[in-house]
């Protein structure tokens, strides 16, 4: 639109018309308004696809003789079932099961048949769907983004409305580029202050989930706001939005700002030149208007947030690293303590760690790997501990190798793998053995998530690296690079 004119769809002026970031996105994507009888028909700008939740969606098209309505708005990758070990001497990839292989081949065939772009084997852009999308600039502010994957909320870090859908809905979006949705409620979580040294985005979101509960966001779209959120880098914002579903919210979002623009400029699929500047102006106008109302508000202070680990079997069961796990007594707590092999009331510090996993769509980005390397530099992973570092995408892998981070990992005794979901959900054979305790930078600590009987402690990359070196749970703040020496007062 010409400069200086307001698009009514993306700006609100007075308090009466003041709208939230979510409201603006919702309004702009309504194909057909909701009524008492029918949900809204919502247009989807970007549909991300992976091998696990799409096969039956494509089958629906085939059964009805339908094409993919907008292949240009559909983007597929391979991430969940893929091995993270390199191909053998003959170029063969060793899948965990024959089904895993056939699932991957099925997506290759489907993309071929329906003309969908696939970042598959050999693509320099392949990666975990929620790492890849932002990285190549496919994810942009103001978009609606869906994927058959509950961590789609990650893309909300860009001021997109992004959420996970089921496979039947994958079929709907393939066929019509639309979804049927009831308008969710809004929840703003404002975090004042600044995170302390050694406290990261992961600690922040674990703290939020513990505070509002694993069902605290049910029925809501969360907007994260406040000084602590604005201070986060784009990658850290993705970590926060990623785990919105762990608080029950389908989507989490953060208003676009200068950092968002700086991140996107020059990405392969982002607009270029003047088009970028025009888009930037629209994107910045998406932020919540002053006076806009949310259905619920929660306010927290960054000073209250310490390095945090989960101790139990849902992501809300967490404590500050120096804390103690709850005393038993309640059935849910007892079940969790029993599964995790913990005594009620015990300290987490000093608890032995068998495996450390660094990776996933929560914390498998380059800044995460840099943090891990900063701790591992010149140190060794404890003898009884196995450590896996799995980059979130090919681009992350390349960047890490260009910076020599992989050499730091290897020298410390960690494994350096190929990109994929890996031990986050343990579909590809990267498993935590039964009864073993893993400190993991992923997002779910459900029973059996990382393998049958696996015991997961979720933590930040910094905490994970420190625990790997110590072979037990330690406070990552004891492993920070020493501050520049101060001159002694005479």
């Amino acid at each position: 639109m010409p400069n200086g004119q307001e698009d009514p769809a993306v700006s609100g002026q007075d308090d009466a018309g003041a709208r939230t970031l979510f409201d603006k996105l919702w309004d702009a994507h309504i194909v057909r308004e909701e009524s008492a009888d029918t949900p809204a028909v919502l247009y989807i700008d970007l549909h991300l696809v992976h091998e696990v939740t799409s096969p039956q969606g494509f089958d629906t098209l085939r059964a009805r003789g339908l094409p993919v309505r907008r292949p240009d708005r559909t983007l597929a990758t391979l991430d969940h079932s893929t091995p993270t070990t390199p191909p053998d001497a003959n170029g063969e990839r060793h899948y965990f099961t024959p089904q895993a292989k056939s699932q991957v081949q099925q997506l290759e065939r489907n993309c071929d048949e329906f003309g969908v772009r696939l970042e598959g084997w050999g693509s320099q852009q392949r990666g975990i769907v929620h790492v890849m999308g932002p990285e190549i600039g496919a994810t942009q502010p103001g978009m609606t983004v869906v994927c058959g994957d509950s961590h789609t909320a990650t893309h909300g870090a860009f001021g997109a409305l992004a959420f996970g859908i089921g496979t039947t809905e994958v079929g709907y979006v393939l066929a019509t580029q639309c979804l049927l949705q009831r308008k969710p409620k809004t929840l703003r979580i404002t975090v004042d202050g600044r995170l302390g040294q050694g406290v990261g985005a992961k600690d922040l979101i674990l703290h939020i989930i513990r505070t509002i509960g694993v069902n605290g966001g049910t029925g809501h779209v969360i907007e994260y706001a406040g000084e602590a959120i604005e201070a986060l880098s784009m990658e850290q914002r993705m970590t926060v939005c990623n785990m919105s579903i762990e608080a029950g919210a389908r989507a989490g979002m953060i208003a676009p700002d200068q950092k968002t623009l700086d991140y996107l400029r020059g990405r392969p699929l982002a607009p270029r030149g003047e088009a970028f500047e025009a888009a930037a102006e629209r994107w910045l106008a998406l932020r919540t208007d002053p006076g806009a109302e949310f259905d619920r508000e929660v306010r927290l202070h960054a000073d209250d947030i310490a390095p945090t680990l989960t101790w139990g079997i849902d992501p809300g069961m967490s404590v500050p690293v120096t804390g103690t796990v709850p005393a038993g007594g309640a059935p849910g707590t007892d079940r969790a303590l029993g599964y995790m092999g913990l005594e009620g009331g015990q300290a987490l510090l000093g608890h032995a760690v068998d495996i450390v996993f660094v990776g996933s769509c929560t914390n498998g980005r380059i800044s995460d790997l840099r943090e891990v390397a900063s701790v591992l530099q010149g140190r060794q992973v404890a003898a009884h501990t196995r450590m896996l570092v799995v980059p979130g995408s090919e681009a992350v892998r390349r960047q890490a190798e260009a910076e020599g981070l992989h050499e730091v990992f290897l020298a410390a005794g960690a494994e350096w793998r190929e990109p994929g979901c890996s031990m986050c959900l343990a579909m590809n054979g990267d498993l935590v053995p039964p009864g073993k305790t893993a400190v993991s930078t992923s997002n779910r600590n459900f029973e059996g998530r990382q393998g049958p009987g696996a015991r997961t402690l979720l933590a930040s990359p910094l905490t994970a690296a420190a625990c790997a070196v110590a072979g037990k749970v330690v406070d990552p703040r004891d492993f920070l690079p020493a501050p520049a020496p101060k001159r002694e007062a005479a």
């Binding site: 639109m1 010409p2 698009d7 194909v31 057909r32 008492a36 009888d37 029918t38 949900p39 028909v41 247009y43 939740t53 096969p55 039956q56 089958d59 629906t60 009805r64 056939s102 699932q103 099925q106 058959g148 994957d149 509950s150 789609t152 996970g164 859908i165 089921g166 496979t167 039947t168 809905e169 079929g171 066929a175 019509t176 580029q177 639309c178 969710p184 694993v214 069902n215 049910t218 029925g219 579903i245 029950g248 389908r250 607009p271 003047e274 088009a275 025009a278 888009a279 629209r282 849902d314 849910g332 959900l425 343990a426 579909m427 039964p434 779910r444 459900f446 029973e447 059996g448 049958p452």
Partner: protein, 199 residues
């Protein structure tokens, strides 16, 4: 999708809270490219030990489990992943209704899409139903109520469109496909705006 109107059947109770989709269907079963046979793997890690032996004392292994179409589960059922394999596995196992005091969003939507009826009841009622393991209930989608043999009637709310689709076994894709022209108009309008903004 099979239509759902009214069903009378036995209740199976799983009182645990926050039963997540990784419990309902562990990730290693997600490599299938069809939903067939998913029911065999429902709650696999609750029902079977690591050697594949049935876990003694697990209610899901009792013969009555497969004959119980109504699952009453603890609060916040179905949290976690968006895998539609979860409601598909429950359907395959033999459930047609899931009742809780709270059901996670994505799971609830997926259930409605595949013909598993999610019923959310107030906590006090839910607590009473949690004590009805093995008893009979009637779930009436036309009247939107759950009835006990003792004559109690508990109304529940469900989105009108979801109810209509379930009652008629209607596939929402037909509804969406019928919007084709509206969708095309939306696309034209927006792509014009975008290119105007770009130019």
């Amino acid at each position: 999708m099979d239509a759902f109107t009214t069903l009378t059947g036995q209740v199976l109770v799983l009182p645990e809270e926050n039963i997540d989709t990784d419990q309902i269907i562990p990730a290693r079963f997600l490599t299938a490219t069809s939903f067939e046979g998913m029911g065999d793997h429902a709650f696999a890690d609750w029902r079977y030990d690591r050697e594949g032996q049935a876990v003694p004392g697990c209610v899901l292994n009792e013969p009555r489990a497969a004959q119980s179409p109504i699952l009453v589960a603890g609060r916040n059922f179905g949290c976690g992943s968006s895998r539609e394999h979860a409601p598909r596995a429950l359907l395959g196992f033999g459930f047609r209704v899931v009742i809780s005091s709270e059901i996670a969003d994505i799971f609830r939507g997926n259930s409605q899409n595949v013909g598993l009826l999610p019923v959310v009841l107030p906590e006090a009622v839910h607590t009473r139903l949690l004590a009805m393991d093995g008893e009979e209930l009637t779930v009436d989608l036309e009247a939107c109520e759950v009835r006990t043999p003792g004559g109690e009637r508990h109304a529940f709310e469900i989105d009108g469109f979801a109810r209509y689709c379930l009652l008629n076994g209607m596939d929402r894709l037909d509804f969406l496909l019928a919007q084709d022209q509206t969708i095309t108009r939306y696309e034209e309008r927006h792509e014009r705006q975008d290119s105007a903004a770009a130019g």
